[in-house]
Symmetry: C2
Subunit: 201 residues, 2 copies
């Protein structure tokens, strides 16, 4: 029998996906649940709701609370935190590189590193240089990976991943989905999602 | 020295304020924190953001998740749950009656009862009959209370309470605010707010 499984859906520009990515592996391992990292793009989903940027920019009071709340959460977790500028960052390149990595062995680790570079160290994740530096730290040769990231096959995979997200009813990130299709939105729902996953096999 | 204090801001039509109201007193008492119930109206704040109804109606995917999530939370807490129809309910009358009660001894208990009637038993909280029945259960004579609720003084208090909410940066409910002005949004932030309140005296 396979261990219970949980899909972890995220956009690299999503703020609360940072603490979620930082803790999902250890928290899931402790619960005996296998996590699958699933990067997608929130942009097209937001656009379908009539938004052309993050709702945290569109609704300033909500945005102010989010930054403060995220800083408090990171402090509690001992995670470095700095507010990306500009926000949201363009997450297209990082998502494509991640898809290449998730077909190899370094995908999960790369995803966690992208979030930390952006929200912990102030790096611009839209830049090829940032991607190359992160790959170098993982001892992955950057050139072939970046070429694969720019290939039509990878572009199509990201589009289809994003279409699947929309089809499954995703409207924000992070989102956790169990094997039986139960959807949990938000970093603060991880524990509930893991409990559900254990009964959903 | 006074015990640490926490303001609990809510709109009676707010979905996640139901589990928050059901647990805030016991949770705060356990933490040694004194809670002040502060009803206000989200309508004017939503209107200022360009919304003419609940965001859960405006954004259907978000709404679908919220109802499911709320049902899961209520099940975990052993709280009865049914989806109000229509949603959102008009919370004006209930908020005015609550303000009368919060000047007397039965305010907190009345607020908890309004949420339970609406989200647990399917009652329409915009109806005078519902208010009268809830007051009767608390052994409070309905007539003078309903008259006080309709007075200009109470109407003005609710308006000023709502203006204060907007001034303090509230954009949703439930919201918890500590004595030093730290703002925590959401039922799932109650524990953090209580920890903060204990250090904020």
């Amino acid at each position: 029998m396979n261990p219970p499984a949980l899909d972890f859906w995220f956009d690299f520009a999503s703020t609360y996906s940072y603490p979620a990515a930082a803790r999902v592996q250890a928290t899931a391992a402790e619960a005996g649940v296998q996590v699958k990292f699933r990067p997608f793009l929130l942009g097209p989903i937001f656009k379908a709701q009539g938004w052309d940027t993050s709702p945290f920019n569109l609704y300033p009071a909500k945005g102010r609370h989010m930054w403060r709340d995220l800083a408090r959460i990171c402090a509690d977790m001992g995670l470095p935190f700095c507010q990306p500028d500009p926000f949201p960052q363009n997450s297209l390149l990082a998502a494509r590189v991640a898809l290449v990595g998730l077909n190899e062995s370094w995908g999960d680790e790369f995803c966690v590193a992208v979030f930390r570079a952006q929200f912990g160290e102030g790096c611009s994740i839209s830049e090829v240089g940032t991607m190359a530096a992160l790959l170098a730290k993982l001892n992955v040769a950057a050139e072939p990976v970046l070429a694969a990231a720019r290939s039509d096959a990878t572009k199509a995979r990201l589009r289809s991943q994003t279409e699947e997200a929309e089809r499954r009813g995703l409207f924000g990130a992070p989102t956790f989905i169990t094997a039986d299709g139960e959807l949990f939105w938000g970093n603060d729902r991880l524990e509930q999602a893991l409990r559900w996953a254990k009964h959903a096999r």
